[in-house]
């Protein structure tokens, strides 16, 4: 290689590596997209079972929260709501969960999307999801233990779960 070419390649290479090193230091999986941005519009999913009309916008039915079809609108039986969490990005794919809330209690966590960058990621997240779900139901919060071997999935799951809990205004 001639000197000029080596110098050009050296400078270009060093700056490319330097830039990607800096870019990689703050990976995408550290951030959760805002709940209101990433969650599907409430209009698509929320219906009021008892009236068949869309529920009035209010604190109890935020854009992400909606009543589950079939839930009885009665004062004796607390209403069941489903709240979608935000999308947490990881290098192995996106993670998003939705929670089902009855009163102030989380009764179910459903994954809407799990890490899926490869067949291996799919398998890892499929193994981790039930563990994370039962942890979340048991603790009734996002303060759940990581599943070993599924660090990224667990981390993103907690973040999405936390954002769903926040959106549902749970204590």
């Amino acid at each position: 290689m001639r000197k000029a070419t080596s110098v050009i390649m050296g400078v270009a290479g060093a700056s490319a590596i330097g830039a990607s090193w800096a870019a990689g230091l703050t990976p995408k999986h550290d951030t959760v997209s805002g709940v209101t941005l990433s969650a599907p519009p409430a209009a698509g999913r929320s219906t009021d079972a008892s009236t068949g009309r869309r529920p009035a916008r209010g604190p109890a039915s935020s854009p992400q929260a909606h009543e589950r079809p079939g839930a009885k609108a009665s004062s004796a039986v607390p209403r069941s709501r489903t709240v979608d969490g935000g999308v947490a990005h990881t290098q192995y794919g996106d993670v998003q969960v939705s929670i089902t809330v009855v009163g102030s209690r989380i009764t179910d966590v459903t994954p809407l999307h799990l890490t899926d960058s490869s067949r291996h990621s799919v398998r890892i997240s499929a193994q981790a999801a039930p563990v994370l779900r039962s942890e979340a139901l048991h603790r009734q919060s996002a303060q759940i233990d990581m599943v070993s071997g599924a660090t990224y999935t667990s981390d993103a799951y907690r973040q999405s779960l936390q954002s769903a809990i926040d959106a549902a205004h749970l204590p």
């Binding site: 290689m1 390649m9 270009a12 290479g13 990607s20 990689g24 960058s117 067949r119």
Partner: protein, 492 residues
């Protein structure tokens, strides 16, 4: 080199006053060839480097630097494993290209240097693969809470048997290790070229077997449609190069030219020439100084290809090689029957006059290394590319009866008024010359006495590797710049 460029290309006056038009044009073509070759070399090296940079940059952007710097222990190890795996894959592909007989690579570096780069890269690639496997396994073991050597072993077992194409990857790793072990010099001497070559060809299987786990597990290969497209195009490009130039072209050429043995002639004690004829040989782009990998369709010679140089300048009707009966196969050449079919891969090699930019030429050969030198001299004489007296031939041998093709060299030198000198005598330790030749002093000064104006020559040398190193050093000390020293080195 620079002065030659300005003389031959930009000025109206003749490059070398007193040189004939034919010589001037030949030297001008040399200048143009060197410029093209330099550009192509830069391009090829920049491309190879760019693939490596792209792979590393992609890994870092994808969170690699974060994992390496701040991740948990398991994540850090896994990150090291990912990086080494990516780099190893890229280097393996570069290695395949280097060995794929790509015409541009051969033209720029010569097959010998391309294969040397291939070997050097191999010494990096295989250890990288082992580091990749080790860190991935231990990283996963740490992540899963399995500690100690037993934990790593259990993790390895779980991975290999757990699907995900890791069994194939494990086989690929084993193949690469076997290839590396057989390629270590000592092992190769014990093993013999043919067995080594068969083992080495499994490298293709190793690369193919390693691809599935990259796609199913390696998120770095599938992180985005761009990376996916990048890797697929690399794989297809390399596979295409191998199939086209390593497989298809030799088959097509052999079928087209239909080479057959015409006659076998004894040149001197134990040295035999094979003359071959075929169709359309005038349309084969081959130069004096090049070689083919030869296979003769006869028991014992079909399965292994041998790199033998042409010992006569190609004349468009026949090709000739000259072989000394050293190995079993070389000895078997003498029994070839006329009419035997010949499969030839080639021509290969950059040991030609294409890059010659100097009027004066020194051809220096030892032993059977005379064969390409003999072809080069014939080309210079026949094409009128050198003025009388401008070519100096030195021919080194241990004994007077070990000078095959000497008569031919003599006739060619006489015909064009060139100088031919034999250097006969038993080998001297640390010297390329026999005792007494060129007087006293270092090899460089003795050689300069034998060849007046040595520093201004274009030098072509061929002989045993150790002897060539001595010549290289002496000629450089005598003032010949590296770019004007041409040789070809084969380790086997």
């Amino acid at each position: 080199m620079i002065s030659c460029v300005s003389n031959t290309m930009t000025s109206q006056r003749p490059a070398h006053p007193g040189t004939s038009e034919r010589v001037r044009r030949a030297l001008g073509r040399g200048v143009a060839f060197r410029r093209r070759r330099q550009r192509l070399a830069d391009l090829l090296e920049a491309l190879a480097l760019a693939t490596l940079l792209a792979v590393v940059a992609q890994f870092l952007v994808n969170g690699g630097s974060h994992d390496l710097l701040t991740g948990a222990a398991g994540d850090r190890l896994t990150a090291v494993g990912r990086l080494t795996g990516l780099v190893a894959m890229d280097l393996l592909l570069v290695q395949l290209v280097l060995a794929a007989r790509v015409p541009w690579v051969d033209r720029v570096y010569g097959l010998d240097r391309a294969l040397k780069a291939h070997r050097v890269l191999g010494r990096v690639t295989v250890p990288l693969v082992l580091v990749h496997v080790g860190t991935i396994v231990v990283g996963a073991a740490v992540g899963d809470g399995r500690t100690g050597p037993g934990g790593a072993l259990r993790e390895l077992l779980a991975m290999v048997t757990g699907g995900d194409d890791l069994l194939m990857a494990a086989i690929a790793t084993l193949l690469l290790v076997v290839i590396a072990v057989t390629s270590v010099q000592i092992a190769r001497r014990r093993l013999g070229y043919e067995a080594w070559h068969v083992v080495h060809l499994t490298a293709y299987a190793a690369v193919v077997l390693s691809v599935p786990h990259e796609l199913s597990l390696g998120s770095d290969f599938t992180a985005s449609p761009w990376t996916r497209a990048y890797w697929w195009s690399l794989w297809l490009l390399v596979a295409g190069s191998v199939l086209l130039w390593r497989v298809a072209l030799p088959v097509v050429r052999s079928a087209r030219h239909g080479l057959r043995v015409d006659r076998v002639v004894e040149e001197s004690d134990g040295v035999w020439s094979v003359v071959m004829r075929g169709r359309h040989l005038d349309r084969l782009d081959v130069r004096a100084g090049q070689f083919f990998n030869w296979r003769f369709v006869t028991p014992g010679l079909l399965l292994s290809a041998h790199p033998w140089s042409l010992s006569a300048a190609p004349d468009g009707r026949s090709l000739r090689i000259t072989v000394r009966g050293l190995g079993d196969h070389s000895a078997a050449v003498r029994h070839l029957k006329p009419g035997t079919f010949v499969l030839a891969e080639g021509p290969y090699g950059a040991f030609t006059t294409r890059a010659r930019v100097r009027r004066h030429v020194l051809l220096i050969a030892a032993g059977i290394g005379v064969t390409p030198v003999r072809a080069l001299l014939e080309e210079l004489v026949r094409e009128g590319h050198a003025l009388p007296g401008d070519v100096h031939v030195l021919y080194r041998a241990d004994a007077p009866d070990q000078l095959p093709l000497h008569g031919e060299l003599e006739r060619l030198a006489d015909l064009a008024g060139h100088r031919l000198q034999t250097l006969v005598g038993p080998p001297e330790v640390g010297s390329l010359l026999p005792a007494g030749a060129g007087g006293d002093g270092s090899d460089a000064s003795r050689l300069a006495r034998l060849v007046p104006g040595l520093a201004g020559h274009e030098v072509y040398l061929c002989g045993p590797p150790a002897w060539m190193s001595l010549v290289h050093r002496a000629v450089q000390r005598a003032g010949v710049p590296r770019t004007h020293i041409h040789d070809e080195r084969f380790g086997w």
